[in-house]
Structures are given as C-alpha cells and as structure tokens.
Symmetry: C2
Subunit: 177 residues, 2 copies
C-alpha cells in the first residue's frame, strides 16, 4: 500500500497568478483566496481509506471515527473514503488535539458550520426561484461560495481577536488599527 | 483627498514562499493559508474613514452604517476607522449585496461568528489557566488561530456543498470524491 506523503501544490497556477498580479495591481484578493482554497487541492488525489487518512494526519483510527461521529470530518457519503480536503481537515484537527483540545471541545464547530449552511441554503433557494437554468445556478453558487467563505473567515477572525483581547493583553492586538 | 485605489499584494513574500514550496514539497498548506490571510494585508495601510472605505468598496455611506449596525463590519473601536481587513470585508459584502442578498439576510454571519468566538474564548481561557506567561499565551493564540480558521472554513465548505447539492444537481458536486 503506497501512501501519498507529499501534497502537490499547483505551482504553475500560482506563477500565472503572480504574473497577472504584477500586470494588474487591482487584481482581487478574492482570486487569491479562491485559487488557494480550491485549486490547491490536487485534482488527481486518490481518496484514502480511514486507515490511510488517519496515518497521514497522525491520528488513530479510533480518533478519526470519533471525529466523524461528531461531524467534524465528512468522508464521502457513498464510498466512506477521505478526499484531500478531508485529509487536510484531519491534519488541522490533529493540530488542535495536540494543543490540548478534546474532540468534544471542537464539536460546536460542526454544529455551527451545519447551521450556517442550512441558513445559506434557504437564502440561496430564494435567489434561485426566478427559474434560472442549471448553469446559471451553478455560476451563482460558485460566486456565492467565493464570497461567503471570506466573509465568514474575516468575521470570525475579527470577533475572535476582539473576544480574546483581554486574555492576551496589548501584544495580541496586532494590526487592529 | 487621495484614495488608495490599488491593493498592494506582497509579491516578494509569495515569491519566497514559491521557492520554499519547490524545495520542500511537504511544506504545509497551513503556511499558505497563514501567509495569505495575514500577510496579504499591507502593513503600511493607512486606516480609512467611513467615506473613504465606502468609496473603495463601491458602497454608500448609509450602506456601510447599516452593515456596521448589524455587526457585519467592525471598524476600529477607538478611532472608528477601517483597516485593510475591514475594507476587504466591505468589498466581500458589496459582492453579496450585488448578488441580491440584503444586509438582513447576512446578519446571521455576524451572530454566528460572535458565538463561535465566545465559545473559543471559553476554551482558550481553560487552556491558559496553567499560569503560562504572556508570550506563551500569545504563541498559543497564534497557533490556535492558524488552526481554527481553516477548521471553520473547511467545515463550512463541506456542509455548504452537501446542503446545496440538491439545489444544484450533479454539476455542483465538483470534486467531492
């Protein structure tokens, strides 16, 4: 059994982006986010079994099962295998467990991500009710995802920084104006 | 009044990253996320007034005030000015308004980001109770933020993809194994 131990990053894509960024300084930050959040995952990644995914993330199979049960990682519902994104998620979770958090501590992330997604589904359904065709819906979804991701991330970062400020003192404030 | 109309992206930093990525294929995706989410904001960015920030994002001042009231953008609590991150957030919000969403539609993002941050604060306070010094706390916070950001983002993306699947048909499924 050959484990894939290296993550391949799309250097050519990043190079092309760099060129365009140099040519056009207004080229949007959004594009960078999009590039790294979507295309940084190798298209030819072969989904892993639970055993393989656990090994790649430095977790035990029992830990992975527990994270799955809490909705903190979502293997493919049909095959039960872990795509590259799921493996990355396991690595992030492994880092948090290593810091001293328990899977139960982290459960709320899954609940909230699910709630946000439900709310977004309702919003998005309204937006799609004008009888637009499939291609148009997919294009809107792509655009929505491009925007909703950074929105949630930036808001989270801002609120987190403010909420933790008193725990950390002025040194944690960083660049906050 | 001179508006800053171009966003400066740290090309040198990205070039250095590229070199390291080529030299070391295991170089972590986390580092890329970190780089782009933190350092992509220019350190010499001069915080903008509401008028300037609105103009940069293509919004009216009234719209910016409404977004502030809903907690969807957080200017500096001391100066009321908008740092680069806040301006970027306004651009993302402008994109969503342009798609047809209302500020009220988006209000839940602020509520949830705030709830997540509160929960994280409680977790983090527990983790810091062992009398570790300030520098150690800040280092843990940095590490926590490095991990919590991608965790929330990936979970959100996963749940969003699954939740919207039936609205979009197979073409929206993309790379989901």
């Amino acid at each position: 059994l050959e484990l894939r131990t290296h993550r391949r990053l799309p250097l050519e894509t990043i190079r092309a982006l760099l060129q365009r960024m140099e040519a056009d300084p207004t080229y949007r930050f959004l594009v960078v986010e999009q590039l790294l959040h979507e295309d940084a995952f190798a298209p030819d990644f072969h989904p892993l079994s639970r055993t393989e995914a656990a090994a790649q993330a430095g977790l035990t199979e029992a830990q992975v099962r527990e994270l799955e049960a809490l909705g903190l990682v979502l293997p493919c519902p049909k095959t039960g295998r872990f795509d590259e994104e799921a493996v990355h998620l396991l690595r992030v979770l492994a880092g948090l467990l290593e810091m001293g958090f328990t899977p139960e501590d982290l459960h709320f992330y899954a609940r909230w991500a699910q709630e946000v997604a439900r709310h977004e589904r309702a919003l998005f359904a309204d937006l799609c009710q004008d009888g637009s065709d499939e291609a148009e819906k997919v294009a809107r979804y792509q655009r929505f995802r491009e925007l909703a991701g950074p929105l949630l991330r930036l808001l989270h970062l801002n609120y987190l920084r403010r909420t933790l400020y008193d725990l950390l003192g002025a040194s944690g404030q960083g660049t906050e104006g």
